[in-house]
């Protein structure tokens, strides 16, 4: 399916089940699609640390055949395997139950360390949110990763510049690139949404000597004009069929 098709399914699913963080899912949809379509190998692991964006992950898992359409549309229903945050105990493709922010990167560090100890091939990719980077545990994990030169770890930051707030947090010098570099990461070039599909080359290489941070400049609610950068939609779903149709029509 195309990104637009998946975007519409995400919105419809959230409407049907009155659940889901739609804009947070849309800002990472391109990244997750690229991971599953172009990047991940059988030796790799992918952790969605910003678990509230899980509708993007579920949509891609459906597209790749790991779950069915029925399962996708059972999102947050009583007996569903798909909750408002992903559970590793219900979905085999999910290595860690995320939702509480700040846990995915330390876990990814552990997985990366395990690969080193065992001499295993493959990389560990962890997608965090920029708001999530408030958490101290992110920087504890970054410090460990840098100290141990975990060059098989790639941290991707969904830098969509907003959260569940009407007033933006305005931390001066909030520069993720400099921070990750200070903790011993190599910084990949900034990645932009291009041609409606998130693009970054798979620059993971055995010749890296440091963990990598890729900071993706994304737009919250990307792909749905009415939702883009609109904080009112953070954890809100369309309430009426009319509202749903307006959102679907604004998908581009």
């Amino acid at each position: 399916m195309t990104r637009q098709e998946l975007t519409k399914h995400i919105i419809k699913c959230a409407y049907q089940n009155k659940a889901g963080h739609i804009p947070s899912a849309l800002s990472i949809l391109d990244i997750v699609m690229t991971m599953y379509n172009d990047i991940l190998t059988k030796d790799d692991k992918f952790i969605l640390s910003k678990g509230h964006g899980c509708l993007a992950l579920y949509a891609v898992l459906w597209d790749k055949g790991y779950i069915t359409e029925e399962q996708f549309y059972s999102f947050t229903q009583f007996d569903s395997i798909l909750g408002g945050h992903p559970s590793s105990r219900k979905i085999p493709q999910v290595p860690l139950s995320t939702g509480s922010l700040g846990h995915g990167l330390p876990f990814a560090v552990g997985l990366a360390m395990a690969k080193k100890i065992k001499g295993e091939a493959g990389a560990v990719y962890c997608l965090i949110g920029d708001g999530e980077a408030n958490e101290g545990s992110i920087w504890e994990a970054a410090a460990i990763a840098g100290h141990h030169s975990l060059n098989n770890l790639i941290c991707i930051v969904d830098n969509n510049h907003s959260g569940d707030r009407a007033l933006e947090i305005d931390y001066p010098n909030y520069n993720l690139r400099d921070k990750f570099r200070a903790f011993g990461f190599d910084i990949d070039s900034y990645c932009y949404n291009t041609n409606n599909l998130f693009y970054f080359s798979n620059t993971f290489s055995l010749y890296n000597t440091k963990p990598i941070c890729r900071i993706a400049q994304t737009i919250k609610g990307y792909g749905c004009k009415l939702m883009e950068s609109n904080p009112a939609w953070h954890h809100r779903q369309p309430k009426t069929e009319q509202e749903l149709n307006e959102l679907l029509e604004s998908v581009y």
């Binding site: 007996d79 408002g84 139950s97 939702g99 509480s100 408030n134 958490e135 569940d164 707030r165």
Partner: protein, 310 residues
């Protein structure tokens, strides 16, 4: 309850210049009047709960009446050590949560918090409150600040300290009674907070029924523990005691029994110490766990029977 509490808090913020509100990236839009009124005294600190509590400690140390607010697991479990130190330092920070137990049913276990009451009650000097209305919640908050202002440091029991207030998703009707069947001599039921959504449904149960907004029986500066009020009645018979709590086991049963003294049997209706592996709505999970109002009624009926003799 959350929305109404925000309204009360906004009024209190405007009246009390010592109140400082610290938000863990929730409630920002709802409290926008506070931001407009005095942006220096309301801070959205972001998603950093451990540092957040220590920041609150510093603010309280400077004499402010600090209210800190986030989702239950993050403002209790995630920063437990910081709360321990807060209590030891006797900082009268009021910690207000939403999403206790499985209020956030659809979001899964990372957002469930059935253990908050039990783990916080293990911290000395921490007061744990389970209000059934937003009005109760704000009164608890104001009372805690009043104690802090009057604290002479001489009496450990009524000294300053942090307070945890657990807001429920909905609130009870303010006209709902907190005591039912006071003349029954068949037994006593203590209900913690808003475990039962409509307390009037239990009026036919043949037992004294009390709704308690705290599990500390000796903590009576605002809510008098019912046991103390009816102590003379209980001395003449040994009641069978049941507690009902929609969370992991707390010391509520033990505290109630200590107040009653001579008891004749114990029961608990509440959550087992298990993760909830279902999503859906809170009502669906209530039914799944046998903690919806009808199931609670039936369990109490088995223990005590009904007033009309069934």
């Amino acid at each position: 309850m959350r929305t109404n509490f925000y309204d009360y808090l906004t009024l209190a913020f405007k009246v009390d210049p010592k109140i400082v509100i610290v938000l863990g990236d929730i409630g920002v839009h709802s409290l926008r009047e506070c931001f407009e009124h005095d942006p220096k005294r309301i801070i959205n600190i972001g998603i950093c709960e451990q540092a957040m509590i220590d920041v609150c400690s510093g603010l309280a140390d400077a004499g402010f009446h600090v209210v800190v607010h986030s989702i239950a697991p993050f403002v209790t479990e995630r920063c437990y050590e910081q709360l321990k130190i807060l209590a030891y330092e006797r900082k009268s920070v009021v910690i207000v949560s939403v999403g206790g137990s499985y209020n956030y049913a659809k979001l899964g276990i990372t957002h469930h918090c059935p253990a908050d009451i039990s783990i916080l009650s293990k911290i000395p000097n921490m007061r744990v409150m389970t209000p059934i209305t937003a009005e109760s919640a704000i009164k608890f908050m104001e009372a805690n600040f009043k104690i802090a202002d009057l604290d002479t440091g001489k009496d450990d029991r009524v000294g300053s300290g942090p307070m945890y207030i657990r807001l429920e998703e909905q609130e009870s009707n303010p006209l709902s009674p907190k005591v039912l069947n006071p003349d029954s001599r068949n037994g006593i039921v203590f209900i913690l907070g808003r475990t039962v959504k409509d307390i009037n449904k239990l009026k036919n149960i043949n037992a004294n029924i009390f709704v308690c907004e705290t599990l500390s029986p000796s903590y009576d500066f605002y809510t008098t523990f019912p046991g103390k009020m009816y102590e003379s009645k209980f001395k003449s018979y040994s009641p069978r005691v049941t507690v009902v709590e929609k969370c992991y086991q707390t010391d509520f049963l033990l505290n109630c029994c200590n107040e009653i003294g001579n008891i004749n049997g114990l029961n608990r209706i509440g959550m087992e110490c298990k993760f909830i592996d279902k999503y859906g709505s809170q009502d669906e999970i209530d039914k799944y766990l046998g903690l919806d109002d009808d199931s609670i009624y039936n369990k109490l009926k088995e223990i005590y029977g009904e007033i009309n003799g069934n």
